[in-house]
């Protein structure tokens, strides 16, 4: 079974592993490869001659209608479909876009974290939730920070244990900021809420601790996951490693199937630049 799987570009080993699949819990590491292979196997298409002729005629008409100067004003209807690179990039800096992106509310309470995505909401709502929670309380409640060593092969079992509250909390060292996966973390003693056991190898990087420190730092990450449900309560959030790489595990309900968890595995840069720092996504059966 392939241990380290690139979900975007399956290799020959991934494809070959498909034949070994026998049960749903081991499917997850190879599902991407299987579906990718089917998609890549779709037959090529070429533009039909009539569509090509119509397109040529439309471009010729654009010349004849006096738009031979490409710098001429773009009609409003056409402009709606033209998104040049420079203006498109500027859309990310549009305060209205940022406002929507930030409109993810994490509300603390009852031992859980409620996430509410408000389309067209205001940043004020986010701020209110953040101040109500408080950074210190958030550090305690938002993420388990177990430093558990999740793997693609055992993710389903681990997630069910995490949600059930029975995931053994690993002995933890805190890796310095910027440490890469595979580097030996330097023990720094016991962090708040964490235990330490030199030589255990369990790691929570400082970057992950910073990410989970408050609703202000975690909300952009949740927003970047493009959660499709208007208001969700994560079943669990945990920081540790995934296949040896520092990672945050976010367990959410699945929009379509109440029998599975949506599990996002993201890196410590999740939320920066509206990027999820995506590592993996899995659907894990609840039982």
């Amino acid at each position: 079974m392939t241990q380290h799987h690139d979900p975007v570009h399956p290799d020959a080993g991934d494809i070959g592993d498909i034949a070994d699949i026998r049960d749903i819990e081991t499917l997850t590491a190879n599902d991407d490869a299987y579906v990718s292979a089917l998609l890549a196997g779709l037959p090529a298409v070429v533009m039909p001659a009539d569509v090509a002729a119509r397109l040529d005629a439309a471009l010729a008409e654009a010349v004849l209608t006096g738009l031979t100067n490409p710098e001429a004003d773009v009609p409003a209807a056409a402009a709606a479909t033209v998104v040049p690179i420079t203006s498109a990039r500027s859309r990310w800096r549009d305060p209205r876009i940022l406002k929507v992106a930030a409109a993810v509310v994490l509300v603390l309470g009852g031992g859980g974290v409620a996430v509410k995505v408000i389309s067209g909401g205001s940043t004020g709502e986010t701020s209110t939730a953040a101040s109500a929670g408080g950074a210190a309380r958030a550090a305690e409640k938002l993420s388990l920070n177990s430093a558990h060593a999740y793997t693609s092969d055992t993710l389903a079992t681990d997630i069910r244990s995490l949600v059930a509250g029975s995931l053994p909390k690993a002995a933890v060292t805190t890796a310095p900021q910027g440490s890469a996966a595979g580097e030996t973390p330097k023990p720094v003693g016991t962090s708040p809420g964490l235990s330490s056991s030199p030589g255990s190898g369990a790691t929570v990087t400082k970057q992950l601790l910073d990410l989970t420190a408050s609703v202000d730092t975690l909300a952009p990450c949740i927003a970047a996951l493009e959660v499709e449900i208007a208001a969700v309560t994560p079943y669990a959030i945990d920081a540790g490693t995934y296949d040896g790489r520092p990672a945050l595990i976010v367990v959410l309900p699945n929009k379509e199937d109440p029998k599975v968890y949506d599990v996002f595995v993201v890196g410590a840069k999740c939320g920066q630049g509206n990027d999820a720092d995506f590592i993996a996504y899995r659907r894990v059966p609840r039982s």
Binding site: D11, D32, V35, D56, L59, V82, E226, F278
Partner: protein, 220 residues
């Protein structure tokens, strides 16, 4: 087209063609379109799932690109810019059609392989895959079309979709997870759980059906 090119000079690369268009060469943009239209068509057709909608989207997008060529700043490949405009046109159309799910592609003989040896199984598989693809949300579908079907690197797809690389990866992964239940039976069409199917999954690494062509050196 310039006299040099007509005389057998090396063809202009994409950026040179766009520059020629901006300089008033009446044929340059058409040449650019002819060079890339099959890939743009494939993206539109797979994303929209309907040839009529795809034709409208490609035409509107390319006429807009023709008119707005001056907005191209050269910080990405010309084909990336063209793809972005076409993808945006497709997504705009899908959002306007939000209440109406995308129709699966009709069983058009011209879209399927002509090889009689594998035509039946491959055609059946393609129809099922296309029908499943049509059930995805537009953003996930567009990401999968660009990365999995067209074979673009995730980084290029991110530029085309105007979103971070991680978002493209996430959309692809979630889209595939959505597709899996609809495609699972293709693993073993005979129904024997002990026998994985070898007829529907390529035995070699996935090869894009329509791989991106080199652009004559105007990559970003």
């Amino acid at each position: 087209m310039s006299d040099d090119e007509q005389a057998g000079a090396p063809p202009l690369d994409d950026k040179a063609l766009l520059s020629a268009h901006l300089a008033g060469d009446g044929d340059a943009f058409g040449e650019l379109v002819r060079r890339h239209r099959d890939r743009l068509w494939a993206v539109a057709l797979r994303t929209l799932g309907n040839p009529d909608d795809a034709a409208d989207a490609v035409q509107n997008a390319l006429v807009s690109a023709y008119r707005g060529a001056a907005s191209y700043r050269g910080d990405a490949a010309v084909t990336t810019w063209l793809h972005r405009i076409v993808v945006n046109a497709c997504l705009d159309l899908l959002r306007r059609q939000k209440v109406r799910p995308t129709d699966p592609l009709p069983d058009d003989e011209s879209r399927h392989p002509a090889d009689p040896v594998d035509s039946i199984g491959a055609r059946d598989t393609a129809i099922v895959v296309e029908q499943a693809l049509a059930t995805l949300p537009p953003e996930q579908r567009a990401a999968i079309v660009l990365v999995d079907i067209q074979g673009y690197p995730v980084e290029d797809a991110a530029r085309m979709l105007d979103c971070p690389v991680g978002t493209v990866k996430s959309r692809c992964s979630r889209g595939r997870a959505r597709l899996l239940p609809q495609l699972q039976h293709l693993r073993n069409p005979e129904g024997d759980p002990a026998v994985p199917s070898e007829t529907t999954v390529p035995a070699v690494p996935a090869v894009p059906t329509d791989p991106p062509a080199p652009e004559g050196g105007d990559q970003p």
